[in-house]
């Protein structure tokens, strides 16, 4: 069945889908002699056929293939990758053999890994895993693909893109939500809709995890916010694992009641997930098979989103503020940071713009000398984890734009394309593929058109291209360009005229302006900016790219006259505002020296500016190593005192330690004086045999490194003899042993015995959750440290002794 037949069928009748596969196989103990459920397709196909038949007999119109985990990542993990084609082919053929006319839904689900930055899987690897599965489902004749039980939106995005690229039939996308309407990774229903709709999937839905009554309520939210067909596959209640059984406590009657509710809300496909059985599906089929779907009202939503937040542009007050501050143009310090991959200003600007009311954030990292493709993707990844507002990906580098939008967890805007043929041909396919909205500047190869009509002509050209690329016009956001009122006063009215006309002839398209250009070269710029913003909103402006920190409630008559070109030469405006001076904070920050900056950065645990500060110290100081060393140690000394006074707690110690480590690492690398610097001493750190705990040891290691020690981290579960061998080899100042468990503490005694037997003079210091001072004395350890600072303090004493 091809896509249009399937979608046409959904307009006329609801479809009944099969019920649970996994729990049915488990119940019948069919999984006991296979590694993964999909192996059954080739090892015991009759078992799979039995389940398929039971659902077909129960009245299912659509049967899901037993290929839930048949993506290349899971198959590879279990050594079945070379059987991928056989598994998927058999998963489809077995259904066809039972009933050639049934709709075969190729089942696709998670790889079991989170994509960066939540996890370590790359987006491209996730895509590849789903691409192979989708291609095989296509090759062997699945009618539709159902991507289901997804819990992470970025992985869902990868799966949709892979399916779209490799499969011709309809694509149904369903995720798993908690009763509060969010996935475990924090995505809400509307954000989910925004991604699924914008990527061009054919149907959307909910499955698994919660009980059918709760899921029915969520289906209502879905039906109210999307025009796509909706699928509904609840569990038979929330599973409880009691006395070796997975119990689903919901009855088939309760399941039916919830399904009927969902049907009345407007759901188009109904089936069952974990815990449901053929009896559940039979009941569903008896009630709903062949029924016409409930007609839903047409929705007019305009969603932009991130993982955890959605903005409906149709609902939000205009203008929508796009914060413009993440842009290094004319900001030397910011540019220097970006060259060093330092994202501290980006993060700070993001947090504060959102605090000041930005609805969206423009992200531009274009600086000569940076790898913009990597930097923009990294910035997008990091920003999305610290702020939740949607992003506007801003670059003139096409590859960077593509990586940027690919890494968005929701639906972003691209900033921007213009009327140049080459740009349109390159950017429209990206915007289409990733489902973004697109800012289109009404300029082209001939430059900025002078008149409103000329700009509208460019807009028309852009729309023709958009039509050609099948890119919906409603996703175009036109920018009719603002020039400075000081140099081109007549142009302001042309801009506003073009906007008003655009709203009439292209009402589906939105409007945006970068507001601050208008005031370039004039005093009291914000007076003009704010006044102009009001005029632009009256002309139909939807989005304003602005500095959210500025005051946006100024409406000044002189500025208005200037903008309306009634104040020729800006004479009156200048009379009133020439003496205007930009307000500066009354308590201007004292300019700090590089040494003071270094000291404060270590004290405040601020690692990100260290590289810049070190550059200056290396450039200007006679003995940069001594300068760095002195200031770092001075700061760490205060950090230690603050920790003792309980003014600082462990996270602050670590932040300072990481900043100090950064300083030492840079100075070592730059001055190539590793030998000299590391000569302050080597320390062996190890978690003893039998103990797998890493973190405590690493914290102590980080603090020691921050004092300039050379830490040799032997890792976890380290054999006692290996520690002694290492000590013999490197002659450390001390050996630090960590153990978290009472059961592994005796290993510490063993290391001390071995050390004594080998006559190694090195001191041993021990620590860890269960370790006590008393225990340290009992086993003749040289010292016990209750925390990282105590360990550092003791080892520094040893270092001084050794020096003497």
């Amino acid at each position: 069945m091809n896509k249009s037949n399937f979608l046409d069928m959904l307009k006329h009748r609801v479809l009944i889908m099969s019920g649970a596969m996994g729990t049915e196989l488990q119940k019948k103990k069919y999984l006991d002699d296979v590694t993964i459920p999909e192996e059954l397709n080739i090892k015991f196909p009759e078992r799979v056929s039995e389940i398929y038949s039971s659902y077909i007999d129960a009245g299912a119109d659509v049967v899901l293939t037993n290929t839930f985990g048949a993506n290349s990542i899971i198959l590879q993990q279990h050594n079945f990758l070379d059987k991928a084609e056989d598994i998927i082919k058999s998963g489809i053929d077995l259904i066809r053999k039972i009933s050639p006319d049934i709709i075969v839904a190729g089942d696709v689900s998670s790889t079991g890994n989170y994509i960066e930055p939540l996890g370590t899987l790359s987006f491209d690897d996730a895509y590849k895993a789903f691409a192979l599965q989708s291609a095989l489902l296509q090759k062997h004749g699945a009618d539709v693909i159902i991507i289901e039980t997804m819990t992470e939106i970025k992985e869902t995005k990868a799966a949709i893109l892979a399916a779209k690229d490799n499969f011709e039939g309809a694509i149904i996308v369903t995720m798993t939500f908690s009763a509060d309407g969010t996935t475990v990774t924090g995505t809400d229903l509307k954000s989910f809709i925004s991604v699924v709709e914008s990527l061009g999937a054919d149907a959307i839905g909910l499955n698994c995890c919660i009980g059918s009554i709760e899921l029915a309520e969520l289906s209502q939210v879905l039906c109210k916010n999307t025009n796509l067909p909706v699928s509904f596959k609840p569990n038979a209640g929330i599973p409880e694992l009691i006395n070796h059984e997975t119990k689903f406590l919901e009855t088939k009657e309760e399941f039916l009641e919830a399904s009927l509710k969902a049907y009345f809300y407007g759901v188009n496909m109904l089936g069952g997930c974990c815990g449901t059985t053929p009896e559940f599906i039979k009941l569903l089929s008896n009630e709903l098979k062949y029924k016409a779907p409930k007609i839903r009202d047409k929705k007019d939503k305009y969603f932009l989103s991130t993982r955890t937040k959605v903005v409906d542009i149709n609902e939000i007050k205009k203008p929508v503020f796009i914060g413009e501050r993440i842009n290094p143009t004319n900001r030397k310090k910011f540019q220097e940071e970006l060259v060093k991959n330092d994202l501290s200003t980006i993060k700070d600007e993001a947090r504060s713009q959102v605090r000041f009311g930005a609805n969206l954030l423009d992200v531009n990292v274009g600086v000569p000398g940076v790898d913009e493709v990597k930097l923009l993707a990294n910035a997008v990844n990091q920003l999305q984890e610290i702020v939740s507002v949607p992003l506007c990906i801003d670059s003139s580098n096409i590859k960077a734009l593509e990586q940027g939008v690919k890494n968005c967890t929701g639906r972003p805007i691209i900033n921007s394309v213009n009327g140049e043929r080459a740009k349109l041909s390159a950017i429209l396919p990206i915007a289409k593929r990733y489902g973004t909205a697109l800012i289109a500047l009404t300029t082209d190869d001939s430059g900025i058109p002078k008149t409103a009509q000329e700009r509208l002509n460019v807009a028309k050209k852009i729309l023709n291209f958009a039509d050609h690329y099948n890119f919906e016009r409603k996703n175009i956001i036109f920018d009719y360009l603002v020039l400075s009122v000081s140099s081109s006063p007549e142009q302001i009215q042309e801009t506003l005229k073009a906007m008003k006309k655009s709203k009439k002839i292209y009402p589906e398209c939105r409007l945006v302006l970068g507001i601050s250009n208008v005031s370039f070269g004039l005093p009291s710029r914000q007076t003009i900016n704010s006044t102009f913003l009001k005029m632009a909103v009256n002309a139909g402006l939807d989005f304003a790219i602005v500095n959210p920190y500025a005051k946006w409630d100024i409406d000044n008559l002189l500025a208005k006259n200037l903008l309306e070109n009634k104040d020729k030469g800006a004479i009156k405006y200048m009379e009133s505002f020439t003496s205007f001076t930009k307000q500066t904070p009354t308590t201007e920050t004292k300019k700090l020296s590089s040494c003071e900056n270094l000291y404060l950065s270590i004290l405040n645990g601020n690692k990100e500016p260290i590289a810049g500060i070190l550059d200056k110290i290396i450039e200007s100081y006679e003995d940069p190593f001594k300068t760095v060393n002195d200031n770092v140690l001075k700061a760490l000394n205060i950090v230690g005192k603050k920790f003792t006074a309980k003014e600082y707690f462990l996270p602050q110690i670590i932040m300072s330690a990481q900043a100090a480590q950064e300083a030492f690492s840079i100075i070592k690398t730059t001055l190539k004086r590793e030998e000299e610097i590391s000569s302050i001493g080597k320390i062996i750190m190890a978690t003893v045999k039998g103990d797998m705990h890493d973190i405590g040891k690493n914290i102590v290691g980080a603090v020691l490194e921050s004092y300039g020690f050379d830490v040799i981290d032997m890792g976890i579960n380290v054999d006692s003899q290996a520690i002694i061998d290492k000590a013999n080899e490197v002659n450390p100042i001390a050996i630090g042993l960590s153990a978290l468990m009472t059961t592994t503490m005796p290993e510490m005694r063993k290391v001390i015995k071995l050390k004594n037997m080998n006559c190694i003079p090195t001191k041993i210091i021990i620590g860890g959750a269960a370790v006590t001072e008393k225990f340290a004395k009992e086993i003749n350890a040289d010292a016990y440290a209750k925390d990282a600072m105590e360990a550092a303090s003791y080892i520094r004493t040893l270092q001084k002794t050794r020096k003497r």
Binding site: Y114, L118, G119, T120, T151, S178, A179, D180, V184, T185, G186, C209, I210, I238, E240, L241, I242, N243, H244, T246, R307, R351, E385, I386, N604, G605, N606, A645, K646, E647, Y648, F649, L650, P651, Q652, I654, M655, A657, Q658, Q661, G690, D691, M692, D694, I695, N698, I699, A702, N717, M741, T742, T743, T744
Partner: protein, 201 residues
């Protein structure tokens, strides 16, 4: 009876676990932001699950016999279960995604992030077991009371006993296993025994 799928990691519990002292520790906005960002990340990475076993028990000195034949030999457990007629074995986990991320941070030497994620995971696991415990308490009839929770590795109930204990509970279904050193995997998992006795016993 037990549903632990939604657990919110408490910011104040996280700070407390990290050693924050209300009237002494001075936190600046930047540090607060960084801690909260990691907390938000941790919240996205946890996937709480529980698995339980319930059986009637009889005590014979230091030996506790379960109906299925499972037996615990421990004087501490025997004291805990004195007068109990039934016991629950509870195991909970927050899944492995958080510790994978923490280990990735350690690998990249992002010790601060690793520290916060690790602590958030511990707080989450504690909250999950507390929630499961509370739900069992609510489920038990009002004339029954629960004992405190007790776990292998404490007193004379050795850590090695966790192998049989988890097998009795059936934790493999929730993805909880033991490594060769008897540490639970995922690491942020908790197993506990809780006795049930009549209120007037």
């Amino acid at each position: 009876m037990v549903n632990v799928s939604i657990v919110e990691i408490s910011y104040s519990e996280l700070l407390a676990r990290l050693g924050y002292l209300h009237n002494k520790t001075k936190l600046d906005i930047r540090t607060i932001n960084l801690i909260k960002e990691n907390l938000n990340l941790a919240q996205k990475l946890i996937k709480p699950k529980s698995v339980i076993a319930i059986e009637n028990i009889t005590l014979h000195g230091n030996s506790i016999l379960f109906e299925s034949g499972y037996e615990i030999k421990s004087s501490n457990v025997a004291v805990l279960l004195e007068n109990c007629f039934k016991a629950y074995g509870i195991a909970v986990t927050i899944g492995s995604a958080l510790e994978k991320k923490r280990d990735d941070c350690l690998k990249k030497k992002e010790i601060f992030n690793a520290l916060i994620l690790d602590a958030a995971g511990s707080v989450a696991a504690e909250e999950v077991i507390t929630l499961a415990n509370a739900q069992i308490k609510a489920y038990e009839k009002k004339d029954n009371v629960l004992t405190k929770r007790y776990s292998p590795g404490y007193g004379d109930w050795p850590l090695e006993a966790n192998k049989q204990f988890l097998s009795w509970i059936g934790t493999a279904r929730a993805g909880i296993t033991l490594n060769r050193f008897y540490h639970m995997k995922p690491e942020k998992s908790v197993s506990a025994l809780v006795g049930v006795k009549k209120i007037n016993s």
